[in-house]
């Protein structure tokens, strides 16, 4: 009986996007609806959180906008509003939630790059 739900959820999961990990620097092309029109907006920043699984998997990207204001956006990983995700860089991190970055600015907020082995 419960597999009706599982099959619905499995059908909703997107498989065309790259895997994300905390510490990745990404460009998210997200669909923005402005009145009637739709356009793609690019949001570039650092993945500070990936949570949930299946169709409920979501991730938060943090970037520093103008005047040093931190902006975080969360997307549902399988949402059709996510157009494309480009992973630019992986960083070496030891925890799954990079909330400590919120208190840091400038040089202190840098992470060491992790090269693909």
């Amino acid at each position: 009986m419960a597999n009706l739900i599982d099959s619905l959820d499995a059908a909703a999961v997107r498989t065309d996007l790259p895997e994300l990990e905390p510490g990745d620097t990404v460009k998210v092309h997200s669909l923005i609806v402005e009145g009637e029109k739709e356009r793609l907006q690019v949001f570039q920043g650092l993945v500070i959180r990936v949570r949930g699984g299946g169709m409920n998997k979501n991730f938060t990207v943090r970037r520093i906008a103008s005047h040093g204001v931190g902006v975080e956006r969360t997307w549902l990983f399988s949402s059709p509003r996510v157009g494309k995700i480009e992973v630019l860089r992986h960083a070496k991190v030891r925890r799954s939630r990079l909330y400590f970055l919120r208190g840091r600015t400038g040089k202190a907020a840098r992470l060491k790059e992790r090269r693909a082995n």
Binding site: A2, L4, L8, D9, M55, S79
Partner: protein
């Protein structure tokens, strides 16, 4: 008027094409069979009786088996399987139905509005605060033992008694509840699946009756 019996499977979310998340309850609905038609002439009212969930004949009483095997007016066999659950659905337009007719989830289409009736989860014996939304007493100002008290139940000498129906602590839940006007989001007759927007009374696995919404719009 149309309806179908089902079992609540549980809740999940659907994503629409433009990325909106819709909370839905998945119901395993049907297949149901029309097991009897009540007519005004013979029964004094009109209704159809729906049967749901096939079972082995030995799980039923002889009376139930006899009811399901009953031949029609012209003597032809009913052709009905053995069914565990029988429920009546009051409606006027009984001409659309014949005994033995199979009803599946596709009696409803996506976008239609339905009412869903089920037995709510039993809450046991509950106090007035939970059961009727009483506010309880103050936490401070020298109060003791008054936090979730029901307050006064009546006046004094007049009327000198407590009115019937006075809301008090008591058994809560496990009662029929109907949720009106839910949107059908998904219909899959192959898998006997219906998904309706929002929550539906009862525990997972509970029996629910889905009918056309009575108050539309």
């Amino acid at each position: 008027m149309k309806g179908i019996l089902g079992r609540k499977v549980g809740m999940t979310q659907l994503l629409t094409a433009n990325g909106i998340v819709v909370p839905v309850t998945v119901i395993e609905a049907g297949p149901c069979y029309v097991t009897q038609i009540k007519t005004a002439a013979r029964d004094g009212y009109t209704a159809i009786q729906l049967g749901f969930e096939e079972v082995k004949p030995r799980r039923l009483t002889k009376g139930e088996i006899g009811h399901l095997r009953r031949r029609g007016a012209s003597g032809q066999p009913s052709g009905l399987p053995m069914l565990r659950i029988l429920r009546e659905l009051r409606l006027r337009d009984i001409e659309h139905y014949t005994v033995g007719q199979k009803l599946q989830a596709d009696v409803f289409a996506a976008g239609e509005r339905v009412d869903v009736k089920g037995i709510s989860k039993g809450r046991g014996f509950q106090g007035g605060v939970k059961r009727h939304g009483f506010r309880g007493g103050p936490r401070t100002h020298g109060q003791s033992d008054r936090l979730r008290a029901p307050g006064s139940s009546s006046a004094g000498t007049t009327p000198g008694r407590i009115y019937k129906g006075k809301r008090m602590a008591g058994h809560m839940g496990a009662a029929p509840v109907t949720v009106a006007n839910l949107r059908v989001e998904l219909v899959d007759p192959e898998r006997n699946m219906l998904a309706v927007r929002g929550a539906v009374p009862g525990a997972r696995g509970g029996l629910v009756l889905i009918t056309e919404a009575r108050k539309q719009g």
